[in-house]
Amino acid sequence: MTDQVDNNSLDRAAVIEIVVAGVREALVLASPEAETTELTEETRLIGAGAVLDSLGLVTAVLEIEQRLADEHDLVVVLADERAMSQKHSPFRSVGALTDYVLRLAAENTHA
């Protein structure tokens, strides 16, 4: 049903775009007036120097999940147990989160 992956359109560039859009949305919601921060693969999402606070991270993760569902019919829970228990959290940066999404997407197709 809904958890089929549209593989063709889900390349790395597409996922980065979604992750950046999700983070951007969270930043705008947190402070609509603030100047736009530049977001790159290295942008840190949690820990020291992170662009998001804890509520911001929640918003970003949900925005990313929703964009994946809406635009690519990919239904995943990003905050799964593996993600939450990894020493190097996939939420640490835009690039790491992108890789994690791609990994979940690949698992989803083989499931």
């Binding site: 809904t2 958890d3 949900l62």
Partner: protein
């Protein structure tokens, strides 16, 4: 993305009992109603759609909300009514029963709340009502696991209500007294009578009593009411 013109409600455990009544009640109040239970519903109504799923199955719950988001574009109300009970002395309670009670009553409620809040926050509006029982405050003997599973729902609800307040979502609890459904069919009559005698208002509960409290919680005007429990029958 399409958005239904009328409010949309999801009622879990809508195949029979209180859940079926609530689904029909919300339909009569103008909602589009999505319902679920493990088995197929043996009733139908215009505006009602039944989904066969176990509320404790994460994959099925995720798929349900993705489908509702796609088809309806909104979710205004969620009533976490699906529940199972088992009346037994704790020394005679099988481990599997404990897992089943916590699975449906608590874990199912958690999954439903989590996924519903993701859909509701998109429109910055949501009303969630969880169903507990007077067995929690009355500490009814023979219902330790059942009461504990609902006690977990109550604590979860209070914290969750705080966490989703920023998203325009409220989450409250109704705690019914005994109501004649299959759930309490096997409870001896003298046990039920004993419970009724301890209520402030000494009678069985009715479906309407539950619906009345839910109506209050889900009104748009109740946006300043969250994390609260209302027990029926004058129990506190």
């Amino acid at each position: 993305m399409p958005e239904a013109a009328v409010p949309v409600a999801l009622v879990t455990g809508a195949r029979k009992g209180i859940g079926r009544y609530l689904a029909e009640h919300l339909l009569a109040r103008g909602y589009q109603v999505e319902g679920c239970s493990r088995g197929p519903a043996d009733w139908e109504a215009e505006g009602y759609r039944h989904h066969e799923l176990d509320v404790a199955d994460e994959g099925a719950v995720k798929a349900l909300f993705a489908e509702i988001q796609k088809r309806q574009g909104r979710l205004d109300v969620l009533v976490n009514n699906a529940g199972v009970a088992s009346m037994n002395h704790v020394l005679l309670t099988p481990d599997a029963t404990a897992a089943r009670l916590l699975g449906t009553n608590f874990h199912g409620t958690f999954l439903m709340c989590r996924e519903a809040a993701k859909v509701m926050r998109r429109r910055k509006y949501g009303r969630i009502v969880n169903v507990s029982t007077i067995a929690v405050p009355m500490q009814l003997e023979g219902e330790s696991l059942y009461a504990a599973s609902k006690g977990a729902v109550e604590t979860f609800t209070r914290v969750f209500a705080r966490e989703v307040a920023d998203f325009g979502i409220t989450c409250n609890i109704v705690g019914p007294t005994p109501i004649e459904t299959d759930l309490i069919r096997n409870v001896p009559k003298d046990k039920i009578d004993g419970i009724l005698q301890r209520l402030a208002i000494k009678r069985l509960g009715r479906f309407e009593d539950v619906a009345n409290v839910i109506d209050f919680f889900v009104r748009p005007e109740s946006d300043y009411v969250t994390g609260q429990v209302i027990y029926l029958g004058g129990v506190s």
